[in-house]
Symmetry: C3
Subunit: 337 residues, 3 copies
């Protein structure tokens, strides 16, 4: 696709070559994310970081990515205060807000809302999550992480295997990642969830049509042997009709160091979209894994900055100018020490 001026709304927009392009640009962003150099390529540009649903981590990640390219960020967080409650349509909001910035990142609780918004926006819109629907930058950063982790073992995404664990029915990150994986060859996916929280059949069918080897399981330990990646997820209480309903499933598939040692291959990469629920009744990913070098969960969030920088650079067409506006960093850099 031609990224310049494009909206990034859905993982469905991406062909394999598009993903490759994003990842190549993301690789080039590393010196800036690591504060080896700074760039001012977007100096004077404004990101409208419009979060009509709260998400500290994603909001700050997008904002920091834009700052790292030299741009400014105007922001909103939360729904109640917006003109939307005065009866304004999303299209009107989009026309107004797109007059204030050069690119917009938007999160909104309603499925399809970001696409609606983008249809009336005069600047590129990046989907920061629209309810249970899409969160394309999360899927891209997950796949980028997989690529980087496997590259250390001289492996690629083609031919890899991954176990996805937890609430696969509601988890949009798993849905989007599944779609992305379909772009690659000889991928094997093991789905581990309670029966009621299985990955939707339509996604499974789509993966199979694309040549992905998909199997399902309702049990953890035997199913995580023999995969390259285990991708654990949180039971998202907010997607269930009640806390009681969510509680039925919470803590069903717990991964800790003992389970890992007994059942996983050595060097199996451990991923999670975060936040992980560390309360005793959930604890899907035990903190005793924190010293396990294969735990990639914080590398995922770090990679998110690279991927978001890449997307900003691509839609604003500065990917090849980033270095031209760069300069040394003068302050103490804890990342290099």
């Amino acid at each position: 696709m031609n990224f310049t001026g494009a909206h990034i709304l859905s993982i469905n927009q991406f062909q394999r070559e598009d993903v490759d392009q994003v990842f190549a640009v993301a690789d080039n962003m590393e010196p800036y994310a690591l504060r080896k150099r700074a760039t001012r390529v977007l100096e004077g540009a404004i990101l409208g970081n419009m979060f009509f649903e709260a998400s500290t981590r994603t909001r700050v990640s997008f904002g920091s990515a834009f700052n790292l390219l030299g741009g400014e960020v105007r922001e909103t967080a939360g729904f109640e205060n917006s003109a939307l409650v005065k009866g304004e349509s999303l299209q009107d909001t989009a026309r107004v807000l797109s007059g204030f910035s050069d690119v917009i990142c938007m999160r909104h609780p309603q499925i399809g809302s970001v696409a609606d918004f983008a249809s009336a926006s005069r600047v590129p819109v990046l989907n920061g999550g629209d309810g249970a629907n899409e969160h394309p930058t999360q899927a891209l950063l997950d796949l980028y992480t997989i690529r980087k982790e496997l590259a250390q073992k001289s492996r690629g995404i083609d031919g890899m295997s991954i176990a996805m664990i937890g609430d696969l029915r509601h988890g949009r990150t798993v849905h989007s990642l599944s779609k992305l994986l379909s772009l690659y060859t000889k991928v094997r996916v093991v789905l581990i969830s309670p029966q009621e929280l299985s990955l939707p059949e339509i996604i499974i069918e789509s993966m199979r049509r694309s040549g992905v080897d998909v199997s399902e399981s309702h049990e953890l330990t035997q199913s995580i042997a023999d995969v390259d990646i285990v991708y654990s997820t949180r039971i998202q209480e907010e997607r269930f009709s009640s806390k009681q309903e969510a509680d039925i499933y919470r803590g069903k598939f717990r991964l800790n160091q003992a389970v890992y040692t007994q059942y996983c291959q050595p060097n199996t990469v451990i991923m999670h979209p975060l936040p992980r629920d560390s309360r005793a009744d959930a604890n899907e990913l035990d903190i005793d894994l924190d010293n396990n070098p294969n735990l990639a969960i914080f590398r995922q969030t770090d990679n998110g900055v690279l991927v978001r920088m890449a997307l900003f650079a691509l839609v604003l067409d500065v990917a090849d100018k980033v270095d031209d506006f760069s300069s040394p960093v003068h302050w103490y850099n804890s990342r290099q020490s």
Copy 2:
């Protein structure tokens, strides 16, 4: 008036020559708002964007205007969290916060609060709306829009006619715009509202004393013939004692393409302070007007950025230095395509 270091609190401060000055500076801001060039004239300056009442659109417009001049923005949104609830006076808040920034924009629900705040501030304060009282930048951007729209027809503000529609009793934008119009000659104003929501007599009298030709009507269709501008407004539920009371008036004067075609002159400019209420029971300005080239409502919000840039440049005395600190823009610009 001498803008340098001045507080901008009320439309009453403005003489015609002051308005002219703001508009001339606003015109010069267009290349920056359109991202044809960027300027760093306010690099190092800080705007304290203090919204003690929520308003995404106005808050982001002020913030973006300051960013476009190269400055930084520190912000607050919402009332509950502030020291005001711990019994701090607005004067104390002003003395403290004015130590943190070079200029402050403030919105507050209480009438007169921004002037109180300004009395103790050590830096210039711009009124971003104090309850039902004043919202001077809205009135200025409205008049700036009228000027620009009429200029395309080789007309000026002198001699123009406007129909103001809706809740004219509570609508502060209409109050402030009325005052501004009094600075011009041969202006004709048609007031269209329910009897109970008429424009306050004191404002009507003031306009008449200034030579404005004012007439009143409680009916829409016949009254919008023969004017240059129709200015529609929203029934502001939040200004009524109950939703029930507001509902009596909601949706009384609806303008849509059919009404426009049948009753308006061709090329009558359609304005609205936004947000418009697009819910079925309100719908004061139908979306079937969205393709009507005379619909100026989004040009109004775009113009708001220009007017706010102009006010910042004037109170900080950089209006004649903006171009000296300018540079080309390197990123993709959807506004020029």
Copy 3:
């Protein structure tokens, strides 16, 4: 201590020479805080300004301090919206957020939380207040103010006397300031509070062991004679179990111009950590003191910017480079007029 890369969590970290160093750097920040010059030494750096408890004044002070050094600020305000409510541990939050910024300032209602957070952060963390525990930058700015005020009388901190007034039991600013004062010689402290709200014995003992001359009183007027500084504080309703309990103590020790004139030495400096409660039933520091040149309360908040700039410059190791990246200021500066 070696400031480079250090967390600033507690006043206990500071030796006298460390305080001296912070104050020397703060002195150098004055031209920038007064907008005589601007510096871009931290251009490209990002502050994560993470306020999981509301505090407009402290949050904006930290943010402005970072902007004045040329850096960008990403921010969060409020608790409910964060991943913490989804069961994420503070350590996880820290690892994620520290991937987005170069330094973090954090406020959190829970005692010890900022230290927990810092233990997992990959970048320096500044404590912006952790419940009733610590607020080290407040203590530093208070002492910096004392130093500056006394310097005008050719005096130093050694040998000075101060009366601390109000709720000395809960007031963390008083606790931290007491610790700092222990680093100096021949200091005399008069503690004035209701019996039930006395300064904790452990702090008094610690001061005495360090050679501070400490006396206690439950009465205001006689006890404020003969001191260099009166430091008044607010009854912090939020630290009591009920408003009723707080009300017992509210307004017990009121200082106004009449009391000042009758009981204080001329030129006794008046301080308060702010916000002061100006409601009639509290009014611990009457507004009739606002024209008293010895009222230093707004100089305190101004000094806060200097001290926070100094801490940022020290932990990021740019204290000696600030001037190298400086340039003149072009806009109207109300501070110099």
